[in-house]
């Protein structure tokens, strides 16, 4: 996979993950073009389209478009499954996820994505393991904030 974009029906970008090195300007240009192209598609059309020399696989969940760019030799249908798996992970973590969850907790969304995909490839095929890794990371964060709170209390005493 070369990159993944999440954007709303109004064209606002909610999440972007790039697996190829590109300059900021290029990224913005690609994002703009792609968002326009995908939003212009009618609902009955198929989920794949050819764009430049890449294959674009997109799927709409409620108000969000999940859009992935894959290379020529990648399997489009399994990419649809990858998108679906990511949505399931988000759903499990946030509990009935909606666009607001992603807007307000985007760092968690990125975290989940990074535990699922690495360098453009799937790194963990088991839902349980991905969620376990996130939980562990969450715990670490909690301990840290707890520690900081404790130390500030001690300090102020």
């Amino acid at each position: 996979m070369q990159f993944m974009l999440l954007f709303s029906r109004q064209g606002k970008l909610r999440l972007q993950k790039w697996y190829v090195p590109l300059s900021d300007k290029e990224k913005k240009k690609i994002t703009r073009e792609l968002v326009q192209t995908v939003l212009a598609r009618k609902p009955k059309m198929c989920s794949f389209l050819e764009w430049r020399d890449l294959k674009i696989v997109y799927k709409r969940y409620a108000s969000l478009y999940f859009c992935c760019a894959i290379e020529d030799q990648d399997n489009e249908l399994i990419t649809l499954e990858i998108i679906h798996r990511y949505v399931e992970l988000l759903d499990k973590y946030f509990g009935s996820v909606c666009e607001l969850d992603i807007i307000f907790n985007f760092e968690k969304a990125y975290f989940i994505l990074d535990e699922f995909l690495l360098g453009g490839e799937v790194q963990e095929t088991s839902k349980k393991n991905v969620l376990k890794a996130i939980e562990q990371a969450d715990l670490l964060q909690e301990v840290k904030t707890h520690r900081i709170k404790y130390e500030t209390i001690v300090f102020s005493l």
Partner: protein
Amino acid sequence: MGSSEMCRDLAGEVEKLLKTSNSYLRKKAALCAVHVIRKVPELMEMFLPATKNLLNEKNHGVLHTSVVLLTEMCERSPDMLAHFRKLVPQLVRILKNLIMSGYSPEHDVSGISDPFLQVRILRLLRILGRNDDDSSEAMNDILAQVATNTETSKNVGNAILYETVLTIMDIKSESGLRVLAINILGRFLLNNDKNIRYVALTSLLKTVQTDHNAVQRHRSTIVDCLKDLDVSIKRRAMELSFALVNGNNVRGMMKELLYFLDSCEPEFKADCASGIFLAAEKYAPSKRWHIDTIMRVLTTAGSYVRDDAVPNLIQLITNSVEMHAYTVQRLYKAILGDYSQQSLVQVASWCIGEYGDLLVSGQCEEEEPIQVTEDEVLDILESVLISNMSASVTRGYALTAIMKLSTRFTCTVNRIKKVVSIYGSSIDVELQQRAVEYNALFKKYDHMRPALLERMPVMEKVTTNGPAEIVQTNGETETAVLETKPPPSGLQPANQVTETDPGVISRFCRSAVSLFPAGIPSITAYNKNGLKIDFTFERSNTNPSVTVITIQASNSTELDMTDFVFQAAVPKTFQLQLLSPSSSVIPAFNSGTITQVIKVLNPQKQQLRMRIKLTYNHKGSAMQDLAEVNNFPPQSWQ
């Protein structure tokens, strides 16, 4: 996202981490290694020892990333590929376990165990089995098993089947398996899900060349896809339909394709029209059908027809001598109602110019002849000239057509003279030039007029690209060629008094390659057992003793000729230089040729003689033949 320097520095660390006991770290290390290899391929060797035990993993995450790592290594280096071939049995075993094992909640997606891993293993198997008979054989069973046992109700199952089909088509699988794969694709085509149909059409397009017959069976489904609402599906269905047209189904297919042309989006019409013309040319069952089809395309999509189709059509019409009256009548009727479609009007004007006499004499045999007077014909041509809708090129055609009619019509010559003289002061330079020249024809060269405006002879069909001609117009020589491949064979210098529409000529001048006005005729040096070798000649301008011969080898049998080697020997006084050939395979049915250039140095200007030796494989056996070529034309060595 590391740069190549970063990768070089950290590669050692990554390699160490590949061996740690923590599976969480190992899977990440594996993908890091993939990235390192992508950025710095030379470091691939470093990871080789760590890969020894990768496939013995229990943890699916690590297993998956390891397969990705192996795939990356095998794609990049043929040595690695050979090294890892021995893993095929292990991979087959893992895949088997995945399919046979019971429900595993951790990795399950809609009843299928770890589809991501399955797909990746299939992909790795594809790379390992390519061009290797043993590996391919080891995979045959498991591929058949996956193909038949996978659930197809959900997208997941179809994703796995898709990958399986790709793998089957790419490795050296047995024919039964291939037919199975194509049948799966055929089933996909009937699926309600658009994505699946899209994927099926794309795959079929790739396989139609190699497994033509199997794909033919699904022809009706493919043709149905032409009526789909989705643009990408329609495009693929159209391309596939063109690939499937053959002598047997051409009538039925053409009907569907013409219907499609009627109703499809404008962006397809040009491609569709060109495709129809090509298919019609190759497989037309009768001349009348061919002309009818062309007419239909011109009238439905006349404005989308590509510019280069017009000269081809004109040549086609010229060559169907007995259909001239029918053609000109139909074309006349077509533009009577509507003369806005440029290509149609161009072809029609040209035909009316050539065959106007047949039109007014009411000679048509094929259908009811219509009563047309000379004035009516001139009326329509003049309207084309005057109309705002007509492009400059179209007007050129119309003016020349009017001019030609001056020798074919009897009572309206004065009217023609008047029209021509009016345009002598036209703003359009091209029209003005023509009108002035034609005026001159009337005034000073009236005695030459009939000869100059004679009926066009049947044109030599040189290549499938289109005709090439040489013309003379009022003393100016215009050389015109449509050929972009090596010089075509057999072009006789055209009759000095033959004139053809200058508009047609300007369309021909596309390529930078031009023929010498006095072309050296080419010869057929060898023609036996379906193998034909033509020689075309060129003399070097810089060195008059050098003759450059281009050989073109074509194969009219129904099987390809492979490993074709051409050798030549000449008498002692000559020197020979053989350049490398374009390929070593001559495709069947004259669908392609091998070209090779020979340079002959002939300082003593002796008569050229050559002995040739041909070796090739055909129908599974090695063939060899010796022949002497003695029919070199004098211009090639004098």
